[in-house]
């Protein structure tokens, strides 16, 4: 685990509202495996760090993919090149890969695409054939980056590829399934492929295993730490109904038009 005060060195858009940010943090980048995450600290900014899957890693750079859903993600997206962020990582236990599987399906929904590029990299390194099945609401919300051979797209509105969820879009049999996406989607994965490896999301306090804030309820009883034993679990090991499904990625739709905030843009008004 490293802590890097890392400059933003890359920013690009990959889907509607979805951006990739890259930070120069060579030691973190070199150590990162698929399914692991980094915990980003902003100062000034919110008290706690924000966890993000490692999207890409290489050339001394760690990349994440995100959408603005609240204070921390908005602040991250307003950074400019060279701005420093504290990158702590890599954290957590990533995906396992077993050459015996021969093939693997990577199933993702929405921002769940985040760990899949690295998963494809590590799967290929393990000699596996890789098929990515990725779903989103519309064609505009699908990620645009994929360097592999086989990919299936799914959209809720049918605007590209299969109409329906990524889970429903998987038609063949694979040696193994790796999945990431909203927790309800992962519950569906668990129904269909109990042995799938899934990367879950929880609120996190520390990201390093000391606070027990990231509890993942287990079917065997008790709780694991998403940041340490997870975020990757065997799908059937997670007690899905007990895992909060109310982690919303949309802010409460209230407007505070008159609060002076750099984010709301310029203008001068008498008070």
């Amino acid at each position: 685990m490293f802590e890097a005060s890392a400059p933003l060195s890359e920013r690009r858009q990959v889907a509607r509202d979805m951006f990739v940010l890259g930070f120069d943090a060579p030691a973190v980048a070199a150590a990162a495996k698929a399914g692991q995450f980094v915990n980003l600290g902003l100062q000034p900014g919110p008290l706690l760090r924000r966890p993000f899957s490692v999207y890409r890693a290489g050339g001394g750079r760690v990349e994440i993919v995100l959408r603005a859903v609240g204070e921390g993600t908005s602040q991250l997206l307003s950074l400019r090149e060279g701005d420093l962020v504290s990158v702590l990582g890599p954290l957590g236990t990533g995906f396992r890969f077993d050459p015996a599987w021969r093939s693997v399906a990577l199933v993702s929904g929405g921002l769940g695409l985040a760990p899949m590029l690295l998963a494809a990299r590590d799967a290929r390194a393990a000699g596996l054939s890789v098929h990515w099945v990725h779903g989103a609401r519309t064609a505009w919300d699908l990620g645009s980056e994929w360097d592999g051979e086989e990919a299936t797209w799914a959209t809720d509105d049918g605007s590209r590829g299969f109409q329906g969820s990524a889970v429903a879009a998987v038609e063949e049999e694979f040696g193994a399934v790796l999945a990431c996406g909203p927790n309800p989607m992962l519950a569906a994965v668990a129904e269909r492929w109990p042995d799938a490896q899934v990367a879950v999301e929880t609120y996190m306090g520390c990201g390093t295993g000391v606070c027990l804030g990231c509890a993942v309820p287990l079917t065997a009883g008790g709780y694991d730490r998403a940041c340490r034993e997870g975020p990757v679990y065997r799908a059937a090991d997670v007690d899905w109904p007990a895992l909060p499904s109310h982690l919303y990625y949309t802010a409460v739709p209230v407007a505070s038009p008159s609060r002076p905030s750099p984010a709301t843009g310029g203008g001068e008004v008498p008070v």
Binding site: E3, G41, G205, T208, V210, G222, H246
Partner: protein, 304 residues
Amino acid sequence: MTADLSVDLGHLRLRGPVIAASGTFGYGTEVPLLERRTLAAVVSKGIFLRPRPGTPPPRIVETPSGMLNAIGLQGPGAEALLRDYAPLWSAWDFPVLVNINGETVEEYGELTAQLDGVPGVGGFEVNISCPNVEQGGMYFGNDPRAAADVTRAVRRRTKLPVWVKLTPNVGDIAEVARAVEDAGADALCAVNTFLGMSIDLHSFRPRLSFRTGGLSGPAIRPLALHLAHQVARNVQVPVIGIGGIAGPEDALEFLVAGCAAVQVGTATFADPRAIAGVHDGIAAYLESKGWTSLKELPRYLPLD
């Protein structure tokens, strides 16, 4: 020349003033901490006699400059603690105190008895912010008498250091402080988290599954400082200040206000090296003043 930062608590000598707070540093084994030299002591995550699963998620909520938690004292119980952690602790060059909890006075006593004398267990921090099931769930820490009963039950079972950790959610903290001092506490830790709540505007219910949680972090610092100061003015035993300490200035405020040492909790979440930062910053401050020892720091403890 490096200033002498060691702290003499009377019953225990620490090599520095900065202690890792319970529940925010696991069992001291989680983070591969390079700056161990700056750790004066570790208080381990709160433990009960028997294993506890803890509360269902969500367990934490961020708030402005703070966070609410309701972990529900998840822990492996005394047996597993002794098996899995005490042997590691016994090799360390700083003490580990165990944060102990119970649902009855007797449970505190029994837990103490089980842990006492085991190599690696350097002392006890008695968490009295637990519901007293024999008294209808009222917190031990809110009632000077119940708090004293717990303290005595622990004290009777051990000669190791006994610290009692006070709750801020009480009308008159000085009264509880005096009661537990009289009952034999070697030091008082002030304070634990403040009761708070947060509401989810999607579900129209509390964000925490436990409904309420304890507020920690910089937000509570001025409140905790006031309470620690109140306690320091009302007891003779050393007081260990806790609450929102993130940097050396924060720690120095507690020390000036009459605390003998401090604990750092939530700050380590944002910065795994927070304790080293506080320790080194205090050293730099003393040196900038030309002081050779922490004992030269002026204290503010007016009598009125």
